[in-house]
């Protein structure tokens, strides 16, 4: 049975051209970029090219990228690195209740070390309130970390406005742009962010690589110690193969981002139209007017998410209930909890659909048709 994969927010397949690029790099360029001989220089060239392409894609200088092993490491480096580097100016951090665990858990860890963390609430649409952020800001706030796009509901935060708000404040501004990079144009100058995280495997690149953009005026406390790679912000032999693959994924992204968005929006429209055609009861979590095109989180009243997911899986539809890292145990989503409160039934009946370049309109129709009897059956059980 062929699967319909609608879990692109969890991870994406390699783009064909990325696969090709990596195959060629694997066979022809294996040197250690720190070596001074031919093989080393050859790999260094690849690395420099990738850095140039990727830096350009976010309008950042060449030297501002720190390659890491993924989004999680980049978030950890941003948060621990800037917290420890700026401790002398204060120990207050502001974040939101709907961040990815790779932001929340580092913040909790810092809390246990004596830092003070404010977790801003969000409203029913998943939005942070700028006034609440203003009120939360203190003289001893050293870091504000707010995600660009939420991975569970696709809601967009007003990053540029926050950046402008923080311009005159000492706090370093970090944004986790892992889910934004594939669908939004990113310009770190315009957004006025100091630190920005992205991850390759969410944009059709290989797993095991990501980056942290760092404005040159900021210092981070190093987290992984060793050789002098990445200007000593991140030691370890550079993963040139994955970085070259990442570069190719970014190249294609820059060409296709707009057309991809058009495609995702069409898929979204079709899915909703088809669900309506099936006369199913459902509602969209989040904000229809302030969402990315490729993620939609839908609540199906009177269904139970765990059984729903199992049934969808049996029907060949790969979706998830929230972020993959927490999906193993289906705890109610902390994101929906922040939006609707502890008791809301949407915490227990919501499914995330995330679209990709290979999905077709016909698949949306099939999905709606397969969902309909499942929902009916689950409702009869409740």
């Amino acid at each position: 049975m062929s699967h319909i994969y609608l879990d692109h927010a969890a991870t994406t397949p390699l783009h064909e051209s990325v696969q090709e690029q990596m195959t060629s790099v694997m066979q022809n360029h294996f040197g250690n970029p720190s070596s001074i001989h031919f093989f080393g220089r050859d790999s260094r060239k690849l690395l420099d090219q990738a850095r140039t392409t990727i830096a350009k894609s976010i309008n950042a200088p060449f030297t501002s990228l720190i390659f890491t092993s993924g989004g999680t490491e980049a978030n950890n480096l941003a948060i621990f690195g800037s917290a420890y580097a700026n401790e002398q100016y204060g120990r207050h951090i502001i974040t939101t209740q709907i961040e990815h665990h790779a932001v929340l858990h580092p913040c909790e860890r810092l809390e246990s070390e004596g830092f003070d963390v404010t977790y801003l609430p969000v409203d029913e649409t998943g939005q942070v309130d700028l006034n609440q952020l203003k009120e939360a800001l203190r003289d001893d706030t050293i870091l504000v970390t707010i995600m660009s796009v939420n991975n569970e509901v696709g809601v967009i935060q007003p990053i540029q406005e926050i950046g402008e708000l923080l311009e005159e404040h000492q706090a370093v501004f970090h944004t986790d742009a892992v889910q934004a990079y594939g669908v939004q144009q990113i310009d770190v100058q315009e957004m006025k962010v100091d630190l920005l995280t992205a991850s390759s495997h969410k944009i059709y690149g290989p797993k095991g690589v990501g980056f942290l953009y760092k404005h040159e005026k900021h210092h981070l406390k190093q987290q992984v110690f060793g050789g002098e790679q990445e200007r000593k912000w991140r030691s370890g032999t550079e993963n040139t193969l994955a970085i070259a693959g990442f570069e190719q994924a970014v190249k294609v992204l820059m060409e296709e981002r707009e057309s991809r968005n058009t495609h995702y929006q069409a898929l979204f429209n079709e899915l909703i139209a088809q669900l309506e055609k099936q006369e199913m009861e459902f509602s969209i979590n989040g904000d229809l007017n302030n969402r990315v095109s490729n993620i939609v989180n839908i609540s199906f009243p009177k269904t139970e998410v765990e059984m729903f997911l199992t049934n969808l899986d049996l029907a060949g539809i790969a979706v998830s209930s929230g972020s993959a890292c927490t999906a193993g145990s289906i705890d109610p989503s902390h994101v929906l909890k922040a939006m609707y409160g502890e008791e809301d039934e949407r915490l227990y009946n919501s499914i995330r659909f995330s679209f990709g370049i290979h999905n077709t309109l016909d698949e949306m129709k099939q999905v709606a048709e397969k969902i309909q009897p499942i929902v009916e059956r689950l409702k009869s059980l409740s």
């Binding site: 001989h37 858990h105 909790e108 860890r109 797993k207 370890g236 032999t237 899986d313 790969a318 890292c325």
Partner: protein
């Protein structure tokens, strides 16, 4: 080009590349996703973990995948230091460790830990007795490398393990990056708690590595996030790399049977180098066969390396991570070499299947370079 810089990195094995290609194109889903596509990928991850565990004779839950040797070393050392700080804050290491160990120890020193950097003798070997005497009631960790990456000296890991075993509150970490696939250590030994292995040094891929972490040990993670790798190492799993690491480990262990042949090749080079008064051999006689380090008087190492390159032979300076600076090697200094020799070192590093022809090419290149040089010097 004849590549004799296998300690910096190796050419990935064809089978490893095939494995990576297959897994990354066919099994892309997130293993933490609960649908079947995720489940299939999770199975692959479990299988690779089991395969590595079986090959090494450890438990499958004892294999933690990481992004490289550097991360594994950081995780082992910082992880133990943080986790067991209530037991004590003393750590023992040596003066000749890789920067990923030394720099981590220096960081911990700033954080209030006390580090003993044991000296080595002129052969680059630490004394077992020194280690024993350095152990204190507040010692929580001993981290000592197996094969040194610059000169190939080999530390007596098994003897050290036997000693550490007698101290139940002292953990033992071994940086096995340069030894794996060449010289075995007793992976299952009760005295060894943590072992670092890096894929790209054994014809695997960059970014693929693991830390063997014995079951009784808890590590404070370097990073916080998802619940992957039993919470010790969060982040979406790189399953294609994990499977390719399992393949690289299997192949490296198979090819280890050829390692003894390198002794003769090493000897051949030594015999040749001995003909030149201006050459000092820095590697100990009874070190690992695959690494040979030497200095040539009045020859800057970059100059020598470029001269070799012109002859189609690739060798390197002390170590790739710091080869851009000209300062003296901390390893050679610890072995008591002069500043001059310690700043002039060149390293030949072989893979397990290096051929006699490659070594002959190295030797004729060297002869040519030296005769040119002698002409210049008159």
């Amino acid at each position: 080009m004849i590549y004799l810089d296998n300690s910096a990195t190796t050419k990935p094995h064809e089978d490893v590349l095939k494995t990576f290609h297959t897994v990354s194109s066919k099994y892309f889903a997130n293993p933490s996703s609960i649908h079947r596509m995720g489940g299939q990928v999770e199975d692959l991850l479990t299988k690779s973990r089991q395969q590595i565990a079986d090959l090494l004779g450890v438990g499958s839950q004892e294999v933690v995948f990481t992004s490289g040797g550097t991360e594994s070393n950081n995780l082992a050392i910082k992880g133990v230091a943080e986790q067991y700080k209530n037991r004590g804050k003393h750590i023992i290491t040596t003066q000749i460790e890789h920067p990923s160990v030394l720099e981590t120890c220096r960081h911990l020193e700033q954080m209030g830990y006390e580090i003993t950097y044991l000296p080595v003798n002129d052969k680059g070997e630490v004394s077992v007795n020194d280690v024993k005497e350095a152990i204190r009631p507040d010692t929580i960790l001993i981290t000592i490398m197996h094969v040194n990456n610059e000169i190939g000296s080999v530390q007596p890991i098994e003897k050290l393990a036997e000693i550490v075993e007698q101290y139940p509150t002292v953990l033992f970490h071994v940086d096995h990056v340069q030894g794996f696939g060449k010289i075995t250590i007793p992976y299952g030994h009760k005295g060894i708690d943590l072992i670092t292995i890096s894929g790209h040094k054994i014809h695997g891929l960059k970014g693929s590595a693991c830390l063997i972490k014995k079951q009784h040990i808890s590590l404070s993670p370097l990073q916080h996030g998802g619940a992957q790798e039993d919470r010790v190492r969060p982040g979406t799993e790189n399953v294609a790399n994990a499977v390719s690491l399992a393949k690289a480990i299997r192949l490296a262990l198979e090819e280890q049977k050829n390692y003894h042949q390198l002794q003769e090749l090493n000897q051949t080079i030594r015999e040749e180098l001995k003909n030149y008064l201006q050459v000092t051999i820095n590697s100990p006689k009874h070190g690992a066969h695959h690494i040979l380090n030497f200095s040539v008087q009045n020859f800057k190492p970059e100059v020598l390396i470029h001269a070799f390159s012109d002859e189609g032979v690739v060798v390197s300076t002390k170590s790739a991570c710091s080869s851009r600076q000209n300062e003296a090697s901390h390893v050679l200094k610890a072995c008591g070499k002069t500043d001059e020799d310690a700043s002039a070192a060149v390293r030949v590093s072989m893979n397990a299947n290096q051929s006699q022809d490659d070594i002959n090419a190295f030797i004729s290149a060297f002869k040519k370079i030296m005769s040119k040089y002698e002409k210049v010097m008159g």
